[in-house]
């Protein structure tokens, strides 16, 4: 019986000219979006690759210099792009791509792409995630809003029920009839994406498991929308009313709730402004150890301690370059201050994420959105992971520079110069993103929310369709 109903639904759907047109449009948009974003990424990637090499050349070719001056001169860390960013660009557009690494300061990623685009960018870009997240749910609604209302309007619902079809069978048949067309649109895209992404050059490693995971997440998302569509269709008497209700539902889930949650999260837990943040750090730094202020109280205290430790009376008697040592200690102290302040931002972000989890009750869009970005390595956590790795690398670089000064020059000898040998001895910045296992465990909340949506809406549909039988 289930297959019979499903077959009938499918036949009707495929016969419908509107379905064919919308299916073709959605499919074409998906394919087009992949190609458009590919060419965009390729040009961006080429630029970044050139900039990365350039930055390294500048670092290595800076000529003879005092190592600490070299640490001041610094270099750049570039955020790598991963193949699946082609599918979901996530927050990449709104988070910078490069971090300036220098002595004494932890900088934020600079130059977000959105700043260099027109106001239209805020409507969203034609990337696959846009189609997958917004348009396909609408496609499901367009195909299924009259699943039950049409039967009611034409009187066939009574006929069906008089044949003694159990509610759940009816529901499942309708469900398959609505879900299979979506599968038919998305499956080829998945296959094409696999072929396409695994053959990309210069995009880092590609994981089939992650892509499959992404595919499954989107299928669950579509299953939720299928359920919601059937549920609403069974609740209303008129097709047009069911359609309006579904449209409102889509709008609330996909458009309004993300924005509302954003405003709520910001209201409850807000970030300081850029300058406030910088001033807080400057304030914290002002009282502490600073390599460039050997006269400060903190430096004098360190001096006394060090002299005592080595059992000498003056810094010139120390077996190493005191200036370099002080620089390194100052940098370590400042790094700690940065760590604490950035940690505050992270904590604020964690609280904001909590808000999104609560509002996910209003919208299956949110958990899907976050999971999709996470698997594509374009979410905010990925950005943090990169920023932390860059900071680690900065400390390594600065430490190496100060260390060279400590070991190979004498206190007060600011004319000491290091050369290319030292610059090239600093390894290039290599970034390994967190494993997918840790990505998944970080997103446990989103996974369970999406699963809850799936099971909850399934239960509601079955319950409602069963009840419908008793009433009419």
């Amino acid at each position: 019986m289930i297959t019979l109903i499903a077959k009938k639904e499918l036949k009707e759907t495929f016969r419908d000219g509107r379905f064919r047109i919308t299916a073709i449009i959605v499919f074409a948009l998906l394919i087009a979006s992949v190609f458009v974003s590919k060419s965009y990424y390729e040009s961006i990637n080429a630029q970044h690759e050139a900039a990365r090499k350039n930055a390294r050349n500048i670092w290595e070719g800076q000529g003879k210099k005092n190592p600490h001056s070299a640490a001041h001169y610094g270099t750049y860390a570039f955020k790598p792009k991963y193949p699946m960013a082609l599918i979901d660009n996530g927050v990449d557009k709104y988070a910078g791509v490069s971090i300036y690494l220098e002595a004494h300061a932890r900088n934020q990623a600079q130059y977000m792409a959105a700043q260099d685009q027109t106001a239209l960018a805020r409507f969203g870009d034609l990337t696959p995630d846009f189609i997958l997240l917004f348009i396909i749910p609408l496609f499901i609604i367009l195909n299924g809003f009259h699943a039950f209302t049409r039967e009611r309007e034409s009187g066939t619902l009574k006929l069906l029920q008089s044949q003694g079809v159990p509610g759940w069978k009816l529901a499942l048949g309708k469900w398959l009839g609505l879900f299979i067309p979506v599968l038919l649109v998305v499956l080829p895209v998945y296959v094409l994406a696999t072929l396409f992404l695994s053959n990309l050059n210069n995009y880092g490693e590609f994981s089939l498991a992650a892509l499959t995971g992404l595919f499954v997440i989107y299928l669950v998302y579509y299953a939720v929308f299928t359920n919601l569509t059937l549920l609403v269709s069974s609740l209303f008497k008129k097709s047009s009313l069911a359609f309006v209700a579904l449209l409102v539902l889509w709008m609330v889930a996909c458009l309004a709730t993300p924005k509302l949650s954003t405003n709520l999260a910001q209201k409850l837990y807000s970030y300081p402004t850029q300058l406030e943040f910088e001033e807080q750090i400057a304030q914290a730094k002002s009282s502490g150890l600073n390599g460039h202020e050997p006269w400060s109280d903190a430096a004098k205290k360190l001096e006394a301690e060090t002299l005592k430790q080595y059992g000498v009376d003056s810094i010139s008697q120390l077996p190493f370059n005191w200036d370099g040592f002080l620089m390194q200690k100052g940098d370590e102290h400042e790094a700690q201050i940065y760590f604490e302040h950035y940690d505050l931002l992270k904590k604020t972000n964690a609280k904001q994420s909590q808000v999104y989890q609560y509002t996910s009750a209003l919208s299956p869009f949110l958990p899907t959105r976050f999971l999709s970005m996470a698997l594509c390595r374009t979410d905010y956590s990925s950005h943090w992971a990169f920023a932390d790795a860059a900071e680690k690398y900065r400390l390594l670089l600065v430490g190496k520079m100060n260390g060279d000064m400590v070991d190979n020059s004498k206190t007060g000898d600011w004319d000491y110069l290091a050369d290319e040998k030292l610059w090239t001895s600093v390894p290039e910045f290599e970034y390994t993103p967190p494993t997918y296992a840790s990505v998944l465990s970080e997103n446990k909340g989103n996974i369970s929310l999406l699963a809850l949506w799936l099971m909850g809406t399934f239960a509601l549909v079955i319950f409602q369709v069963n009840k419908m039988k008793v009433v009419s």
Partner: protein
């Protein structure tokens, strides 16, 4: 007859509970949107005010110090902290160069969440290399703000579709249509006046909810004094356009359900798809050169300039003889700075090709968007609202320009004085350059108004044409 119709329409609409519910929700949504927009503006204003207050504190502190040192009341601090030193003042007491919110800023967040609204360009460093980024959670930027612009661009058309998708079809489906047609009235005139009447109802609802929303948030008076009527007029045209689209779709004589689907498809195409397609093609066709390239060039030039600073200073003196020291044996306390000043132009020259390339790409993107934007009223309305709110990309570009100019003014104040080896005196303080943001952007409201009016006229025309080509029998039968 019109009066009759109006009353009938009114009764018919408001007898349906869901219409009333929808309107109440709309009022709530509007109020919340205005609240959100206003909240953002207040945060922005508060941040600027605090920065300015801090600046005044530093000024007062330095003024006090300069005064007491010059009168010999307190000893001079170390050189790098002495406010009498021009370099200390120029570097440690920068002006707050702020982009003040326009009176209607609350209607559209626009680009305002991407950029900082105040910077402090110092004596050292180049303003064109400033990032202008605001600290923000990128997820929030991705999702955007629930502001009035969002409500009007995205939700208002949906409300109108819900109000009008069954303009004709419902009459046919309920059988009233034949009765109406038995009256001696023109079919098109009847339909059109029906559309206009519903539009008037929405126009009133829109006005009332806007006024209430602004009243609740305490921005009504400023809004009315600063071009709220133009904004309302934009919204009316946009709303009327959507009613006319609805009329057009109804004229095809299909069922209510089919109308609803068709209308939503139009909405998706005009509001969701077209803008994203145009934006994406703009990025792909005119990629903006990475700013990192600019920074790399700058660093190379800077390193070179540092090495040759002494030589550059000599050349600089040749080009600016008025700045050259009269007594070459005199030691200038700002010698480090003078070498830096001498390199500024060289650095600028090194990066200006990339800066130009960058500006050009942005301009090309904007031209492309402006050209293709005429295909979507949503794009036109967005641009119109951002323009009125002072949050369009053009405003931020202009602000950036003004910052760069002011940074030059700031430097120009100190440079000649430092070349003359002078110090800061108490009487100099009131003469320090001050910054005042001017929204210099050429408003696009005439353009936007023309465009929105054109949409309305074209859809009216289309509906007339369609009506005359349509077989009336088909419209009469359900």
């Amino acid at each position: 007859m019109i009066q009759h119709q109006f009353k009938y329409e009114w009764l018919q609409l408001f007898r349906e509970r869901w219409v009333l519910a929808l309107l109440v929700i709309f009022l709530g949504v509007m109020t919340y949107a205005v609240y959100n927009g206003n909240q953002k503006v207040n945060t922005r204003k508060a941040a600027i005010e605090k920065a300015k207050a801090d600046m005044q504190k530093i000024d007062a502190k330095y003024a006090g110090q300069i005064d007491s040192i010059s009168r010999g009341l307190s000893p001079a601090p170390e050189r790098w902290l002495d406010p009498r030193s021009l370099s200390v003042y120029g570097q440690r007491a920068p002006r707050v160069v702020s982009m003040d919110a326009q009176p209607l800023a609350f209607i559209a967040v626009g680009q305002s969440d991407l950029f900082t609204h105040y910077v402090k360009p110092k004596l050292y460093g180049e303003a064109y290399a400033l990032g202008f980024s605001e600290l923000a959670n990128p997820v929030q930027l991705l999702f955007g703000t629930f502001d009035l612009a969002f409500v009007c661009i995205y939700l208002l058309p949906l409300l109108i579709i819900a109000f009008s998708y069954n303009l004709l079809s419902q009459e046919k489906e309920s059988g009233v249509f034949r009765l109406t047609m038995a009256q001696p009235i023109s079919l098109y005139g009847w339909l059109f006046s029906r559309t206009v009447l519903r539009f008037i109802i929405i126009a009133i609802v829109l006005l009332v909810s806007l006024v209430i929303a602004m009243l609740v948030n305490g921005v009504l008076a400023t809004a009315i004094a600063n071009g709220f009527l133009i904004v309302y007029f934009f919204l009316l045209l946009y709303a009327f356009f959507w009613f006319l689209v609805s009329l057009l779709i109804n004229l095809f004589g299909k069922s209510s359900g089919q109308n609803a689907v068709a209308l939503v498809s139009v909405w998706v195409a005009l509001v969701l798809l077209l803008p994203s397609i145009i934006s994406q093609t703009a990025n792909t066709l005119y990629p903006v050169p990475s700013r990192i390239n600019m920074i790399n060039e700058y660093r190379v030039a800077e390193a070179k300039a540092e090495k040759e600073a002494a030589k550059m200073l000599k050349t600089y003196y040749r080009d600016h003889p008025e700045l050259a020291p009269k007594d070459s044996t005199e030691n200038n306390q700002y010698s480090f700075w003078l070498e830096y000043f001498a390199t500024i132009d060289v650095l600028k020259q090194a990066v200006s090709p990339i800066l130009n390339e960058y500006d050009e790409a942005i301009a090309q993107q904007q031209t492309w968007v402006d050209k293709l934007g005429i295909f979507s009223p949503a794009i036109v309305l967005q641009s119109a609202l951002n323009d009125q709110a002072g949050t369009a990309p053009a405003h931020y570009a202009s602000y950036r320009e003004q910052v760069i100019q002011f940074a030059d003014t700031w430097k120009a104040y100190f440079m000649p004085r430092m070349f003359r080896n002078e110090s800061m005196k108490p009487e100099d303080l009131p003469g320090l350059p001050q910054f005042e943001y001017e929204p210099k952007v050429h408003s696009t409201w005439v353009n936007n108004l023309t465009m929105l009016t054109a949409y309305v006229l074209i859809t009216v025309l289309l509906s007339v044409v369609l009506f005359n080509f349509q077989k009336h029998e088909q419209m009469l039968t359900s």
